[in-house]
Symmetry: C2
Subunit: 364 residues, 2 copies
DNA sequence: CCTAGGATTGAGACCGGACTCACATCGATT
DNA sequence: AATCGATGTGAGTCCGGTCTCAATCCTAGG
């Protein structure tokens, strides 16, 4: 029972020490469970601590241990279930290792990310997990490395930054998926992404996101190998918000030279693309085939269920967190982290293009 | 250019002071932008800070200002898009107010939540946002209030805890939605939730989640008002994981007295329920009507699109964060936060029950 | 030229723990 | 009984900032 209704100052070791009639040093030892303390003293101190409802001030503790037991996580959009799931992997692993997580959302903005990293460093987090908004502007990340603070990357690589990166082989899975579409008969394959660019797209262009670059490389490789003309004009970046994506989708499906298959770069884009297809009165896969990144549960509920590229997102979060913790604690890499491989899951949204389309395009 | 390859110790005000040839106090004043500092000193200090790449240690700062500029957030499952979106509302608002966010996931476990709250308090967060796993076991939350640390609740109320709560009127919207189903002709309406209980369900039973209690109350109220028998046997709690939910769904749809409409308590449950319905070869709404909580984008993509109860989740996060910040900064409530109202969005998943079902049940 | 009062400045206390160091204490050794 | 290593113990420093307080500097008023 705390008899005094409103307490103000927090209870400190000094208070506990006084109550237990021992020195501050002894009280600290008993509470912190270090050094030599007699049973008698320990008991008195713990009893006093209990009585006063003493709670250690972790800030003070961090101050002179130099450890905050906190991981900083910087992601583009926690609203995106992709990151939600990764975050789950991170927090689960962090908790197991005795760490907490400070989350900062950047809205995929470079400036916000630079800021976020600075703030987390100032807060003296023990290490950072970053899903870089840009794989090119990475000065802030290089600085982290130079400062010696542990850093691991999630989802995307960062140029010139020597840090463990946890992501799947995007080039490979993109190649494989494109090949799947080509084998189904598609020649006009579109790709929709929100990644921002300044100039119009051309094959081999350097993009902010290594992830998207790799995917495009995979697409180009598959087309080259098949000896087919690249559908460069169907690569649509800068897709923006839902309305913009729907507009782009309708454009892609219009005209003689229209796309017969569309690849959506993530779950959020997929939603708008599918909505646009449906609202145009077209059906999947009869009128247009569809393929998307990330295997969310809802992709099994549409008619037909959607063919997706599944990434082990939760595991990526887990792996990133445990690698970071390992670095923080200065341990050597033990068992190599499980391979993070993406898989193409074939459901019903990919089919053969209409013969008419193929013919008209061949003739055009 | 930092000429020394590997720096170890962080640069402190003392280092900057020495470099600028002024006292530590003056350097601190110039850097912290307080007190009186001559232009000359300020310039020298700032130049030295720049040169040494000085960064303030926020921990130390927090130590003696007693402010950490950090909000603690405790949610059940960040993987659930509901919380992902709320989190977005929280972090956006926090950032605007100059606060950071520490996130702890409890997996909806009471013990984990108690722990989470303790950890955050120990870390001296300036305030807490909690989505309580239990509306009944709230001792830990009451303690927070007693300690004087600001606290607001999200999504669910907590008994005996005097804290601002940001949630919609679940009873009202549940009543309205049930009435909608009853008017469509349904008499056998099922409700599936993962909330855990020890005893079998009976009307008016006290549940861990105020949210679910309110929804059930709404259902019962609608049935009472219509003078119809309560479908108590169709209230399925403890639904558990995806497999378990699918099993329960199939049970609900079997037999003469089967459910003709199902309400899913959240997006995650909905996925499994719909999947079970589809895999049973039944169609919505011809064989069974369906209604769910939360208006996720994918609910528009199924065939038919799903009738949902939309909650202003992002706004709830925003409101919670700004109320918390207001409390922290000791400001009075200004403009009352916008009302948080849920809406029933009628799409295609609710229709009339099969005449055969109604007759057979009336006859049974 | 002298002085009151505001602007500057540096020394040092302080936040709340962790940890060093010198000084007991005490049973065991020989 | 003198000695030694293993505890116990308290005083006090340190972490890296903020902030108080008294001393010093300047400049305008008299």
């Amino acid at each position: 029972m705390s008899t005094d209704g409103s307490r103000r100052r927090d209870v400190t070791v000094a208070d506990v020490a006084k109550a237990a009639q021992v020195s501050k040093a002894q009280a600290a030892r008993a509470l912190g469970n270090y050094g030599a303390v007699s049973d008698d003293v320990r008991e008195r101190v713990l009893a006093a601590a209990e009585e006063l409802e003493y709670r250690p001030n972790e800030l003070a503790r961090s101050m002179n241990t130099g450890k905050s037991n906190t991981l900083g996580v910087v992601v583009g959009d926690i609203e995106n279930p992709h990151f939600g799931l990764a975050m789950r992997g991170i927090t689960d692993t962090a908790k197991k290792g005795g760490y907490n997580v400070v989350l900062i959302n950047t809205d995929e903005e470079q400036a916000a990310e630079v800021d976020a990293v600075r703030v987390l460093l100032d807060k003296r987090v023990d290490g950072l997990i970053v899903a870089p908004a840009s794989s090119i502007e990475t000065a802030h990340l290089r600085q982290v490395r130079e400062s010696g603070r542990p850093l691991v990357l999630l989802d995307r690589a960062a140029e010139g930054v020597d840090a463990e990166t946890f992501a799947v082989d995007m080039g490979g899975i993109s190649y494989e998926s494109t090949k799947h579409l080509i084998e189904a008969g598609h020649r006009r394959i579109a790709f929709v992404s929100t990644v921002r660019t300044n100039a119009p797209y051309f094959a081999g262009m350097k993009l902010d996101s290594s992830q998207i670059s790799d995917r495009l490389d995979g697409i180009h490789r598959a087309f080259n190998e098949a000896g087919l003309p690249q559908p460069t004009d169907l690569i649509r970046l800068n897709a923006g918000d839902a309305d913009s994506i729907m507009r782009i989708t309708r454009e892609l499906l219009r005209g003689k030279d229209r796309a017969t298959a569309i690849i959506a770069s993530d779950g959020l884009i997929a939603l708008s693309v599918v909505e646009a297809i449906q609202s145009s009165g077209l059906s999947i896969p009869e009128d247009v085939s569809f393929l998307m990144y990330d295997d969310f549960a809802w992709t099994r509920l549409t008619t037909p269920p959607l063919t997706v590229i599944a990434q082990p997102v939760y595991e990526m979060g887990q792996a990133a967190a445990s690698a970071l913790i390992r670095q923080i604690e200065g341990r050597k890499a033990g068992a190599p982290s499980p391979e993070l491989v993406a898989r193409l899951i074939r459901r019903g949204s990919v089919g053969a293009p209409r013969t008419a389309d193929v013919l008209s395009q061949a003739g055009g």
